[in-house]
């Protein structure tokens, strides 16, 4: 077996720079998509999990991972897994704060059972008001809902509990 040139930690470190193409304020590690890295004889295998089954960003993320590791001379295989199923609980608190600053209200509850009750009081990421209402359960991407703030009148997106 060829001695690994890079350790698992080093590869994780590199991959932690890759951002979510749809929410460039957060990285794929912070959002919980980056699950694991296995060192193999030829390079490494990167395990990722999609936020939503139909997430169109997965192809770009896979290409970004391969390109970045290739720059460092690491041959990477990317494996998509559905287990464990991704949940918004995997998003770190730091990432939630970054989302808010970016203008997206982060998920408020843990992966909630009762979505209709849980998502009525969403804080406006612009002015902090709780006086907001849902416009549509589905926004510009499957993971977000459309809201509007009744105080500052700004529309905003809310990252849904999942």
């Amino acid at each position: 077996m060829v001695a690994a040139k890079h350790t698992k930690e080093e590869i994780f470190e590199l991959l932690s720079q890759i951002v979510d193409p749809e929410i460039p304020a957060v990285t794929i590690e912070e959002i919980g998509m980056l699950q694991d890295v296995n060192i193999t004889e030829t390079g490494c295998e990167v395990i990722i999990t999609p936020t939503y089954t139909g997430c169109p960003a997965m192809g770009i993320i896979e290409a970004d991972i391969k390109a970045l590791l290739d720059e460092h001379g690491i041959e990477a295989k990317v494996k998509l897994v559905y287990d464990p199923a991704w949940t918004t609980d995997m998003i770190t608190d730091v990432a939630k704060e970054k989302m808010r600053k970016y203008g997206i209200a982060p998920p408020v509850n843990s992966s909630c059972g009762n979505i209709t009750v849980a998502e009525r009081e969403i804080e406006c990421p612009q002015c902090g008001s709780q006086n907001t209402e849902v416009v549509s359960r589905f926004g510009s991407t499957a993971c977000k809902a459309l809201y509007k703030c009744n105080d500052c009148k700004e529309p905003f997106e809310y990252f849904k509990c999942h």
């Binding site: 089954t53 139909g54 359960r137 589905f138 459309l146 999942h162």
Partner: protein
């Protein structure tokens, strides 16, 4: 294929087909939605369904072991090789027709995937757990609109009731089981659909009550999809969906 893989292949194909065909129908709303937000919502639902179909088709291809991709399965089969329930291929009609279809299907899927996530087959269990999270939103969307239209104006109430009545005859088939179901059930892989029916019916009745709508009367129930027999609509869907692959085989972007 071994016997068990053959059965799982059929099951995976059926689940993939349901998601794939309904996804195509919902995508037809793109740029035709009644309002912009709804245009986005319906196409978001379609996207979830494409992702789901991809998962089940990939697994079917893996079980078959002939080196096919999920695209081969999606684009290179004819009507009789599709096993989606007939309700998935019903035309979009007006907005109420689409919502009625969404209500019947998403409530069914909610109870279905809740059970399938306990499957002894790890891939089915993982896909089901993932799908269940998405289906909860589909169901909430459909129920919201059913209530809004049913308890809305005289005209919206009339259209919603008509849509529910017309699609009712395609709901019986959702619970139909054949050898694939019974043999996989014995191994703890598949879901006992007969157990789901009372829960589904109660859930639908509760939504309709809140929407001031009446439960459609039990009538003749259309059947066929478990044998790959379809309505005339599927051929038109495939003609549209498969055109590029049929006209330019192996075309790449």
């Amino acid at each position: 294929m071994t016997d068990i893989n053959q059965l799982k292949y059929s099951y995976s194909l059926r689940l993939g087909d349901n998601a794939w065909i309904l996804s195509h129908r919902l995508a037809e709303w793109c740029s035709n939605g009644p309002i912009l937000e709804e245009d986005l919502a319906l196409t978001n639902l379609a996207l979830d369904l494409i992702g789901r179909a991809q998962g089940f088709y990939k697994y079917a291809a893996e079980l078959e072991g002939k080196g096919k991709s999920e695209d081969d399965i999606a684009y290179r089969r004819n009507e009789r090789q599709y096993f989606n329930n007939l309700i998935m291929e019903m035309p979009n009609g007006n907005f109420a027709d689409t919502i009625a279809r969404q209500l019947y299907v998403s409530v069914f899927e909610y109870y279905f995937f809740r059970e399938l996530k306990n499957s002894k087959d790890e891939t089915f269990a993982a896909l089901a757990a993932k799908t269940l999270k998405e289906v909860k939103y589909h169901m909430a969307h459909a129920a919201d609109w059913t209530i809004r239209l049913g308890d809305g104006t005289e005209e919206s109430h009339k259209k919603m009731q008509k849509a529910l009545n017309e699609l009712w005859m395609y709901t019986g088939e959702l619970f139909e089981m054949n050898d694939v179901d019974s043999e996989l059930m014995a191994q703890g892989v598949s879901v006992d659909l007969s157990m789901l029916k009372p829960k589904w019916e109660q859930h639908i009745i509760d939504v309709l009550k809140e929407a001031t709508l009446a439960q459609p009367e039990d009538i003749y129930m259309q059947t066929g999809s478990r044998q790959g027999i379809h309505t005339e609509h599927l051929g038109h869907i495939l003609g549209d969906m498969q055109y590029l692959q049929r006209a330019y085989p192996d075309a790449k972007w």
